[in-house]
């Protein structure tokens, strides 16, 4: 191990007299640069796996309900029937088809996630950018508010809020939005603060651009990767938290969603009678969707932070370059030519 480490150290410089030309020339139009980032993301195996899972579940959520054989709210067979040819995932404690419940449940869970993600991201952008750009007392006020929302334990607050509100789809959306915006706001605030010191912002100020324009046209496009990552994280949070609230019976128990499926499974003591098939599909679906979003976020992290890139991936970026990546512990190091 340590011998290997010493070799790494001695070669931890770019051994080349001519600079390695980057694949993307410095001055490109924005659309082309964006395509480059998307391309990088698609080359990333983690992102590809995540995207495949999410696309699959989006299809299930928006097309699936038209294709299922049974109405998920109808009693169609005996109770707690094990999976069979008729009912692929068996039936639940009142004789409803679990497969239909899982497919139709995807719609409620995903749409809640996507809506809450949008609301939370917009609030986060508004609060975070305002605080980071204006600074001074506005920043003090908004940061304190953000940090308070962050530090008050989320789930207990969610439970208390949901207990007071009448149960329903929009109550849940409201509660999740109120509690979920702070994380994005905090990250965007610090990013705005560092971007506002950059020369292109100074030149926009000199050119006489207004604050609004600078924030929306100059700063915001430069932190899109953080906004997107924040959105995906928020969607993830919303899907998990909605399912959690519903599992506690704080949603609208008559609607079909993954959380409600688990709530009814628990209420009908599915595990006591050994009906594992009522719990596996919805639970695994929640986990897989969360896994998919996390993998995409993980990949965004790797693409935007070269230090985290795996060796293989860095090698891929450099494909066609006369350079080679040496195994090293720090920032990936490019070495021209073959290993001696």
């Amino acid at each position: 191990m340590s011998a290997n480490a010493n070799i790494d150290l001695t070669t931890a410089v770019v051994e080349s007299d001519q600079p390695i030309t980057p694949q993307v020339p410095p001055k490109v139009r924005r659309s082309k640069r964006a395509a480059g980032i998307t391309g990088l993301l698609l080359q990333n195996r983690k992102a590809a796996v995540g995207a495949a899972i999410i696309v699959f579940y989006l299809l299930v959520a928006f097309v699936g309900p038209y294709l299922v054989k049974y109405d998920p709210t109808e009693i169609v067979a005996r109770r707690h029937l094990a999976p069979n040819a008729q009912h692929w995932f068996g039936t639940d404690g009142s004789g409803k088809d679990v497969f239909s419940q899982t497919v139709v449940g995807a719609r409620s869970s995903l749409s809640t996630g996507l809506i809450v993600g949008g609301i939370v991201t917009i609030i986060g952008i508004l609060v975070g950018m305002t605080a980071g750009y204006l600074r001074g007392w506005v920043d003090d006020l908004l940061s304190t508010l953000t940090n308070i929302v962050l530090i008050i334990p989320g789930l207990p607050l969610l439970i208390v809020l949901a207990a007071f509100l009448p149960p329903g789809f929009w109550s849940i959306i409201f509660v999740l939005s109120v509690t979920g915006w702070a994380w994005g706001a905090r990250v965007l605030r610090s990013q705005t603060m560092s971007l506002r010191e950059k020369d292109f912002v100074a030149s926009a100020v000199v050119a006489g651009e207004g604050n609004m324009r600078i924030m929306l046209r100059e700063i915001l496009p430069n932190m899109m990767s953080i906004v997107v990552a924040g959105y995906l994280g928020a969607v993830n949070y919303a899907i998990g938290a909605q399912a959690g609230l519903e599992f506690l019976g704080l949603g609208n128990p008559s609607s079909v969603s993954w959380g409600n499926n688990l709530y009814w499974a628990q209420n009908n003591s599915a595990l006591l009678v050994g009906a594992w098939w009522t719990l596996i599909p919805s639970g695994l679906s929640i986990a897989l969707v969360a896994f998919g979003f996390s993998m995409i976020n993980y990949a965004i992290d790797e693409v935007t932070n070269p230090r985290l890139r795996s060796q293989r991936q860095t090698a891929q970026i450099l494909k066609g370059q006369p350079a080679k990546v040496r195994k090293s512990r720090g920032t990936p190091v490019m070495i021209e030519g073959r290993e001696s």
Partner: protein, 327 residues
Amino acid sequence: MSYILKRVVFYLIAAWASITLNFFLPRMMPGDPGSVLLAKLRGQGDIRPEVIDAMMKAYGVSDDPLIFQYFDYMRNILTGEFGVSTSWFPAPVTEVIRTGFIWTVILIGTALIISFAIGSILGVIGAWKRGSWMDNVTPPVFVFLGSLPYFWIAPMLLFAFAFHFQWFPPRHAYNTDLSPTFSWAYISSVIGHMILPVISVVIVSVGGWLLGMRNTMIAILSEDYVTMAEAKGLSSRRVMFGYGARNALLPTLTSFGMSLGFILGGSLFTEMIFAYPGLGYLLINSVRGLDYPLMQGLFMMITFAVLLANLIVDLLYVRLDPRIRKS
């Protein structure tokens, strides 16, 4: 010193905000929550007049102006007067909370320490052996485990190891036949009851520590002082733990405080599923039993506990990082 002062002021503001939130929540809701709740409670069967009295007091069914009610409420909270629990009547809310608090601290404390230790060590090793098969495989696996909902993994473990194999007890924090004394029988029963809940929390939360530690460690390992340490010919073990991990621990410590609230939230489900008599179990039962004074008291106590834990982390941080002390 001024850093600590700033943090204390912030925690005080946060505590005030959560008390205020707690006061206005039931009063802001559409309609008259006091009478709605009373109607709901009456619907549950016979109800004692003292319970009604407690509810009236807690929900502002009074003729005083709002501002007087607010100051009354503040004074009550600050003197530890949280009202009377309606489902454990006539026990005061504080007494119900006290027993739950101990169990949650034991459960979450154990789970947090185990998960932090395993995650950090795996993260350090992953960062040290960049690109090895272990480093390629562990992050996705733990991201997946972290995606499993608490309220799903816990029933699964319960089903497999408590019902099917019957290796572990299915519910509660100790064998109720035993009296709580410092005897081996009692302590071993507490540990036995803790294993499954702790495992379920650890499985879900370990990935966060792993990824956080790995990413900070990767950044630290490219610092000059690590290169220097290696050039001096120190053993890789010493470089890894003494130079890398030691410095990577600091940023992780900050997220320790932050994630406490998160893990506490997740443990609500764990406690509920294993009927573990901690704060989460009480909270969920209070919601189901419409015991609003207990519910709000629990929310207050959980918030205060998280604030206090964060303050302790801040104090530790000042002890550990001289750069903060100087500025």
